[in-house]
Amino acid sequence: MKLKKNTPVERLWNGIFTENPAFVLVLGTCPALATTTSATNAIGMGLSTTVILSLSNLLISLLRKVIPDRMRMPAYIVIIASFVTMVDFLMEGFVPSLYASLGIYIPLIVVNCIIMGRAEAYAGKNQPLASFFDGLGMGLGFTLAIFLIGSFREILGAGTWFGRQIMPAGYVPINIFVLAPGAFLVYGFLIAGMNKLKIGAGRKPKEEWDPTVKMCGECMNCMKMGMCGKKPESCEEVKKAGETS
C-alpha cells in the first residue's frame, strides 16, 4: 500500500500496521506483558498510553524549535512525565477500579520506550499535526496488539472475555495463562505466528536485537538505545555524525 508520506492517514497506517510497536518493533514489552491479564486491562493501558503518546508528541513537536538540541532528552522526559502524572490523577479520579488493577504500571508509562522513541525519532523533527497522528497511530497499534494478547490470556486463562463467560460451561480454565508465565508464552507464540506469516510471504523475520553488538557509539547517546533495530551503518544519525566529524 502506497500512501503520501507524513499525512495523517499514512501515519496512522504506519503505526498500526507497518511499524506496529509491539509486534514489529518489539518495544514497550513491560506493559505488554504486565497489564494484559484481561482484555479490559489491556484496553485501559493501551488507551492511556495512546493519550500520553499523542499529546506528548504534539507538545514536543510544537516546542521542537525552542528546545536546544543538547537539552532535548531532559526536556522530553519532563514533558512526558507531566502528561503521565495528569493521566494518573484523571484515572484515579474517574476509573478507580481500572486504576487499582493497573497499579504502578500507569506511572511507569514514563519509561515506556515507545514514547521516548517516537519523541526522538519523529516528533522532534516533524510538523505538529503529523506528529500528533504519528503518536495516535503508534498508540492505537500498541493498543490493538496488547488487546490481542489480553484477549488470548483472558479467554484461555479464565474462559471469559471482558468479564463475560464465553467459553462453554465444561471448559476448565488454564490458570497459568492469567499468571506471569502465560504472558511470556502468549507474546512469544504471537510473534512466532507473525514470523511464520512473514516467512510464508517470503520476507525475513525481524532480526534479534542485541545492543552490545549492534549499538555503536552514536546509539549510546540516542534515546532509542539501538532499539530502532537498524544496524549502525544504516542509521541516518550515525551517518550525519560521521559527515560532520
Binding site: 518489539v26 518495544l27 514489552t29 513491560c30 506483558l33 504486565a34 532528552m73 531532559p74 522526559i77 519532563v78 512525565a81 507531566s82 503521565v84 502524572t85 494518573d88 490523577f89 497499579g103 504502578i104 506511572p107 511507569l108 514514563v110 519509561v111 515506556n112 520506550c113 521516548m116 497459568i176 499468571l179 506471569a180 508465565p181 502465560g182 504472558a183 511470556f184 508464552l185 507474546y187 512469544g188 507464540f189 510473534i191 512466532a192 505466528g193 514470523n195 511464520k196 516467512i199 523475520p205 525481524k206 532480526e207 534479534e208 536485537w209 542485541d210 545492543p211 552490545t212 553488538v213 549499538m215 549510546m220 547517546n221 534515546m223 538505545m225 532499539m227
Partner: protein, 190 residues
C-alpha cells in the same frame, strides 16, 4: 529479620522480571552472552541500590514535608536520569576499571523500568529509607539472577534446532515462561 524476609521475597518469590515484568527490555536484549549479562546485572545492582536510597531520602526529606507527593513521578525520573549520568561521569574519571566493565550498560539503565518501578513501589508500600534501599538491592539481585540464568540457557540454545519462525525473540519468550514457572516453586518459601 523482617528485612531478610523482605529481601528473599523481592529476590526470589516476587522476582522483578519473571513475575512483575519490570526491566524486560534489557532482560531480553542483553542476555545473549553470560559476560554481558554479568555486566548488566552488576551495573543495575549498583544503580538501583543507589537510586532507591537517593529517591527515598528525597521523598521523605523534601517531598513529604512540602506536600508535593504528587510530583513524585517527575522527580524520580529526573533523579534517575541525572544519577545515571553522574555515575557515568564519576566512574569515567575516578574508577576507570569499573567504567570499562559497566560503562556501556549505564545508558540502558535510564530507560529500565525496574529503577523507576522500585522507587514508586517503595512509596506505594510505605517503605522507609533503609527498608527501601534493602528492597532495591534485593530486587536488583533478583534481576541479576534471572538475567544470568537466561544467558546460560541462551548460550546452550545455540546448539539447538529451533523452528524457523521461533528463532530469535519468540524462543527467548518461551524460555522466560518456563523460567517463570520454575520460579513459582519459590513461593513455597513464604
Amino acid at each position: 529479620m523482617t528485612l531478610l524476609i523482605l529481601a528473599v521475597n523481592a529476590c526470589l518469590i516476587n522476582n522483578v522480571v519473571l513475575s512483575q515484568f519490570l526491566g524486560i527490555c534489557s532482560f531480553l536484549g542483553v542476555s545473549k552472552k553470560s559476560d554481558t549479562a554479568k555486566g548488566m546485572g552488576a551495573a543495575l545492582t549498583f544503580v538501583l541500590t543507589l537510586s532507591s536510597f537517593v529517591c527515598g531520602v528525597l521523598y521523605n526529606v523534601l517531598l513529604v514535608p512540602l506536600h508535593l507527593e504528587y510530583l513524585k513521578t517527575i522527580v524520580f525520573i529526573v533523579i534517575v536520569a541525572a544519577l545515571v549520568q553522574f555515575v557515568e561521569m564519576f566512574t569515567k574519571k575516578y574508577a576507570k576499571n569499573l567504567y570499562e566493565a559497566l560503562g556501556i550498560y549505564l545508558p540502558l539503565i535510564t530507560t529500565n523500568c525496574a529503577v523507576l518501578g522500585v522507587a514508586l513501589l517503595n512509596v506505594q508500600n510505605g517503605y522507609g529509607i533503609l527498608t527501601g534501599t534493602v528492597y532495591g538491592f534485593a530486587t536488583a539481585l533478583g534481576y541479576w539472577i534471572a538475567i544470568q540464568l537466561l544467558s546460560y540457557i541462551r548460550e546452550k540454545m545455540i546448539y539447538n534446532d529451533v523452528p524457523k519462525s521461533f528463532q530469535g525473540f519468540p524462543i527467548v519468550m518461551v524460555t522466560a515462561a518456563l523460567m517463570s514457572i520454575a520460579f513459582f516453586g519459590f513461593s513455597a518459601l513464604k
